[in-house]
Amino acid sequence: MVAFLAQHGLELIVKTWQQIYIATISLSLGIIVAIPLSVFLLKIPQIAKIIISITSILQTIPALALLAMMIPLFGVGRLPAIIALFLYSLMPILRNTYVGLTNVDTNIIDSARGLGMTKIQLITKVRLPLAMPVIMAGIRLAAIYIIAWATLASYIGAGGLGDFIFSGLSLYQPDLILGGTLPVIALALLTDFLLSLLEKKIIPKGM
């Protein structure tokens, strides 16, 4: 362990940062796209079902294959990796947000409408806050997926902790494999913990 750190310490920091960078950007993109899209889909429930099925299909493509498919479109490096991981994050967030928004008690919606809320207020003041627990569950799930799968991004030259694992595999060096894997696990657990703290903050009390 000490030997590993002495040899790869600096590298480990750089690779971990790359991992965080790729995962954060793709997850943020996923949130920025999926939540407004779900709100928009509320208006067109028939099309919503189709869109959600499409994102589910995207989810079934093996991660490695999806990353490989990015190469002819966006070349190698971080960009294709981020795009691929973004596509993966879409499904859990989109589906959870849509389900959360549509499952708000109809009595509450009716009452809010009857008291004179506009359509936008209904979304921002009623539907979104009440759907927050389900939305957050989707985001946490997506975050863990993305952090784990960002390891594969190294395959298309995006860097990250995957570099250690792939080198370890080709050089038969278990310490390199472990050196890549353990930080990924730690990162995933840490992210989940941080998101659970965030969740407590933004989920309204009284629910």
Binding site: N107, S111, R113, G114, G116, M117, P204, K205, G206, M207
Partner: protein, 392 residues
Amino acid sequence: MVQNIPMVEFKNVTKLYPKMSKPAVDNINFKINKGEFCCLIGTSGSGKTTLMRMINQMNSVTKGKVLIKGKNVKEFNPVFLRRHIGYVIQSNGLMPHMTIRQNIALVPKLLKWPKKKIAVAVNKLIELAQLPKSYLDRYPNELSGGQQQRVGVIRALAANQNLILMDEPFGALDPITRESLQTLVKNLQSKLGKTIVFVTHDMDEALKLATKIVVLHGGHLIQVGSPDEILHYPKNKFVENLIGEKRLSEAKYETVKVKNVMLTDPVKINQTASLTTALAMMKEHRVDTLLVVDLENHFKGYISINELQKKYNQANKISEILLTKIPVLRPDEYLRDNFSRILSRAGQYIPVVDDNERLVGIVTRSSLVNVIYEKIWGDKTALIKKSEKEVK
């Protein structure tokens, strides 16, 4: 508090839902005056909720017009309209993610009232709801169902709305809590002079709260009237069923009039008759008093055997021993209003006199006993049938 200014008016209102052959509400016409407590009552599917929701445009009107203070609701912006009409629904109407304070302040906030004005209003309203101020910072799920609905009711008053719609607001509450909330709403309504449109399927509730009851069935308007009118003159079998047999028979006794129970051939004597005749008549009928009338049957008073015996030798005419201090009843008076008067006459009867002061009958204590007997034992015919069965 009821004024003759129409607050809400339905004119030939019809509501058709797509893919439905029958209209949900069919050609409805009636008015709700300012300050009135109007209950819309009917079974499920009668269109009562649909009708109420047309007032604040939660449901659109297919044909006809709904007017608020003479103005068609379609001319209002729906959001504006709803912010100025209170709205209470059966349950879960409170926003679970907002504190009680935020819930009460919801509409004033939407109307962009200044913060100070909202704070004053909230503190006043929580008192009206008879809840402690400490509840303001709690969340709805920390309150009982009854307390939540108290908040629901006052929230509908928060922005000084003069018209309040309530859709079976107490349907999900236990009877005791319901009763206390009914009292709260009734008091608030009469104290603040609000106009309330109240949907219910519970006739007890409607009779207790309403000043006007609108009976609906299958989208048609069956009857409109005050609780008394509905109770005493139900228009058809459906209304009778809605009221229920028990309440109907109770109502029947409430409306027994003097003329229904009076005896129509009292022993009476003409004022010109001689005292001898009077004495003979008393003996013949075994009575100790005689009612005195003139030739046209106008009631004059009465004579008693005591007076007659005392003055038999001095007096010649009935008018000399005539006693006039006696209460009288009118044939159209309700028996229920005169129970104590009849009972206080001890063994005596009370003469019944019509509007032309003519003697038409008497009421005795036994007349009351008959009514009470009927109420306790039910219809006489039922009693006879029962005894016939026992004989068999």
